[in-house]
Each structure stands twice: as C-alpha cells, then as structure tokens.
C-alpha cells in the first residue's frame, strides 16, 4: 500500500475528503480488498479514539425527545399514499411523508433572482426545460418540519395536478415532473411521470445544478423499479457547499448498473435542463 492510498484512506475515515474524492475512493474500496482492510483497521482506531473521549452521557430524556420526533414523522407517513406510489422505494429513500394538511396559507410568490427569506423552490420539469416558483418556508430552522411541509406539498401536487404553480410546456404524453427543494435543509421531493421504463443496468439518476457555483450535486438514483412514475424524497449530502435558491434539476439515464454511482452526469438528459 503506497503513501497516497494510505493518506486517502486516513482522510476517508475522518470524512475529510470532498464529495468527488470520496465517491472515487468508495469505488476503489469495492474492488480493492487490501484497501478495504486498511480502512477497517483505521476505522477501528477512529472508533477507539472516539470511545476513549471523556465520557459524557446525554440528558436522560434525549431518547424520548428523539422518539417523539420520529413518531411525528411516522404519523405523518401513516396517511394513505396516492395511487402509483412505490412504498418499497420509500424505504430505500428514507421517509417520504405523504400527508394532507391545509395549504391555505401558502401562496405562490413572484419569481425573484434571489430570496432574502427562507423559501421552498418548486421546479416544474419536462423534457424541454424547467419552470420555477417559490413558496415561503414555514419552519426554516427545523429540518423535520421542513420535510413535512415539503411532503404535504408534494403529495398535494401529485393528487391535484391543477394546484401546481406551473404548467407543463411539453406536449401531452411527454415525460414530466416536478421537484420541491428546501436549500436550507438540502432536502426535497421529486415527482416524475411518463418516463420511459428502463431496465437494469440502466437507471434514472437525479442531479441538482447550482448556477451560482456551477456545481452539480448528486441527488441519488430514482428507484422506479420498472414503473414510469413515482414520488420520492431526496437529500443532498452534507458538505460545505451551500446551494443557492435557484437550482436546476435534471434527470439522466445512466448505464452504471450495480457499479458505484457516477460522480457526475454522463448519460442523456431525459427530464429538466442541464444548462452547462
């Protein structure tokens, strides 16, 4: 094992690699057993180091508080999903809460280049491009509350297409969808309709491009499972790169199959705009 690999392994274990370097290293991990063994050894050292910190117990009611938050999210998810939802896919993507709450206080805001207050970005997607709208975010500092508001909007737009704050530009029958995104908590929902069914190893992959930085963020693989429509939650990885409030979303079809996910879009754009 050379110094470069050892250095990368150390930085990987300490979560000191940037996203692209981390993805590339994880790809190596899957095909280099010696490297994986080294990482395991370094992880053991990290674990021992963390566990050897002066021990402090959290407050006794912390678990109750956490479970209370989880219960609230589970309750939100307990409402029946609209037809066509793939609950199995939800398990992979984390909780996709589908709730119906009053949206009376929400109003579509006029478009602005930048928002000074917290907003939810709504992006209408079709095979020709994107349409933007903004909504006020009611709970800017609470990731769970933001998630529930996003879920309620996503479900409402799914069940009542007429309520969407945008109109599809492409002809009927073409692929279309919408994305809702909270730049603050870096999470959102993506709905897609009428995408051609693709079989493994081809997959649909969701990306976010931030025009402010020209950075493309990996938002994950769409677990369509042979269907041509679905509504899914997604979350961007945590890193030090903030996302501006006018992101582009686009979906590509990638050929990577079961291999590590591509670090950048390689395939054809089938939904939304790439605008490189």
């Amino acid at each position: 094992m050379n110094d470069s690999s050892e250095e990368l392994a150390s930085l990987y274990v300490l979560d000191q690699l940037d996203r692209d370097a981390r993805a590339a290293f994880e790809a190596r991990l899957l095909r280099e057993p010696a490297l994986a063994d080294l990482v395991r050894e370094l992880e053991a050292g990290l674990a021992r180091g963390v566990r050897a910190l002066p021990r402090r117990e959290p407050p006794a009611d912390t678990l109750d508080r956490i479970e209370g938050r989880i219960d609230a999210l589970r309750a939100a998810a307990a409402v029946a999903a609209p037809s066509g939802f793939a609950w199995a896919a939800f398990a992979k993507w984390g909780l996709a809460a589908v709730i119906t709450v009053s949206l009376a206080t929400l109003a579509v805001q006029s478009l602005r280049p930048a928002a000074a207050r917290p907003t939810i970005i709504v992006v209408g997607l079709d095979s020709d491009g994107s349409t933007f709208a903004e909504l006020p975010l009611r709970a800017a500092q609470d990731s769970d509350a933001s998630f529930i508001q996003l879920a309620s909007l996503a479900e409402n737009y799914w069940a009542k297409p007429g309520s969407r704050p945008f109109k599809p530009e492409s002809a009927s029958g073409n692929s279309r969808g919408y994305a809702l995104f909270d730049p603050g908590s870096r999470q959102g929902f993506i709905a897609i309709e009428q995408l051609p069914v693709v079989a493994e190893p081809r997959r649909y992959h969701l990306w976010l491009r931030d025009p402010a930085t020209a950075r493309v963020h990996d938002a994950g693989v769409l677990p369509l499972g042979g269907m041509n429509r679905g509504l899914y939650s997604f979350a961007l990885g945590s890193d030090d790169t903030p996302v501006s409030d006018r992101p582009d979303f686009f979906v590509t079809v990638e050929e990577n199959g079961a291999a590590p996910r591509p670090a950048r879009p390689l395939g054809r754009v089938v939904l939304g705009q790439q605008r490189f």
Binding site: R51, L53, R55, P58
Partner: protein, 192 residues
C-alpha cells in the same frame, strides 16, 4: 472499549432492523452509541445544549437513512460518527459559528456517572481507554498531534487545519495519516 467483529456484525444487523422500522433495534443502537456520540458532539459544539440538539438530529438521521447504510463502505459506528460530524457542521454553519479546536482535557472524571454496576464497569473501561488515548497522543510529536486532534475532534477540514497551523495542506495530510496510523498501532496493542 473497541468494537469486536461480533459487535460490528450485530450493529449491522441492528441498522438493517432500524431500516425496516424496528424501534427496539433503534433503542439498542442508541444505548450503544449515544454516550460516545454525545461526547464527540460536545467537543464539536462546545456546549451541552447544542450538543444534545446535534445528537437528536443525528439519531433522527440514523433512523431515516439506515436503509442507505452500506457495510462495504464503512463500519456502523464510523457511519454514525460521520452523520454526527456533518450534522454538527451544519448546525455550526447555521449559527455562523466557527468550530472550536479544543485540546483534550487533562482529566475526564468530571461528568462521569456511575449509575449502575454495568455503567460503572463501562465507565472504568472508558477511563482506562481515555488514559491510553492521552498517553498515545503524548507520544506523537506536537505538530502531528495537533493536526490529528483537530482532524479527529473538530469539524475543521484538512484545508482549514492547514490554515490554522500555517502549514502546507500536503504536510498536514501527511501528519494526519501518520498520526492515525500511530494511533491505530498503539491502540490496537493488547492491554497489559
């Protein structure tokens, strides 16, 4: 108190059960991870209230994202540490606070709780481990030790550590590598 292979396999099983919605498995993971993660959050955040907030968020994320855990890429505890670290970074960024670089305290007896015989046994083990950690770090040359401590116990990136130490990034990365290897070697030695 290192994780044995059996413990790691058990924690992988627990995460799979959490992904399927298992509440007992979640509570078991909390019992295993909450104290070390809270201790780490306290170092990252600097005060108990912020540390508890970060710990709560991290465990909600563990519950939400257990299904995406990949045992080929990391051990469960490392995965949880990464989730916590990123959560702390997010919280610090929202509060516009810079992460603080705190040295290891000279004594860790304050705050230790001996609530039950099991807790007492574990606490004794942890104290011994903490003593060994400090002894281990003391054998590492000061610049490397500082770089390693910052990489282990702060939310600074290696580039930020390089800036703080006024050293080239390559030098700091090399120090971190050597320090982690030294730590691995010494901490893996059997207890006399």
């Amino acid at each position: 108190m290192p994780s044995t292979e059996n413990e790691i396999h058990e924690e992988i099983r627990l995460l799979a059960a959490v992904a399927a919605g298992g509440r007992p498995a979640f509570r078991e993971l909390y019992a295993r991870y909450s104290a070390p993660l809270f201790s780490l959050a306290l170092r990252f955040m600097g005060d108990a209230g912020a540390a508890e907030e970060a710990l709560q968020d991290a465990f909600v994320k563990i519950w939400r994202h257990a299904g995406s855990y990949d045992a080929r890429k990391s051990q469960p505890f490392t995965w949880a540490v990464t989730l916590l670290r990123r959560t702390c970074i997010d919280h610090l960024r929202k509060k516009r606070r810079r992460p603080e670089a705190l040295p290891l305290p000279a004594d860790d007896t304050a705050g230790a709780e001996l609530a039950t015989p099991e807790t007492a046994r574990r606490t004794t083990e942890v104290h011994e481990a903490a003593d060994r950690l400090r002894a281990t770090l003391a054998t590492i040359a000061p610049p490397q030790r500082t770089a390693l401590e910052l990489a282990l116990f702060s939310t600074l990136t290696h580039a930020e550590i390089a800036t703080q130490l006024a050293q080239p990034a390559g030098t700091v990365k090399s120090w971190i590598r050597r320090g982690l290897f030294d730590l691995r070697g010494i901490l893996n030695e059997p207890v006399p």
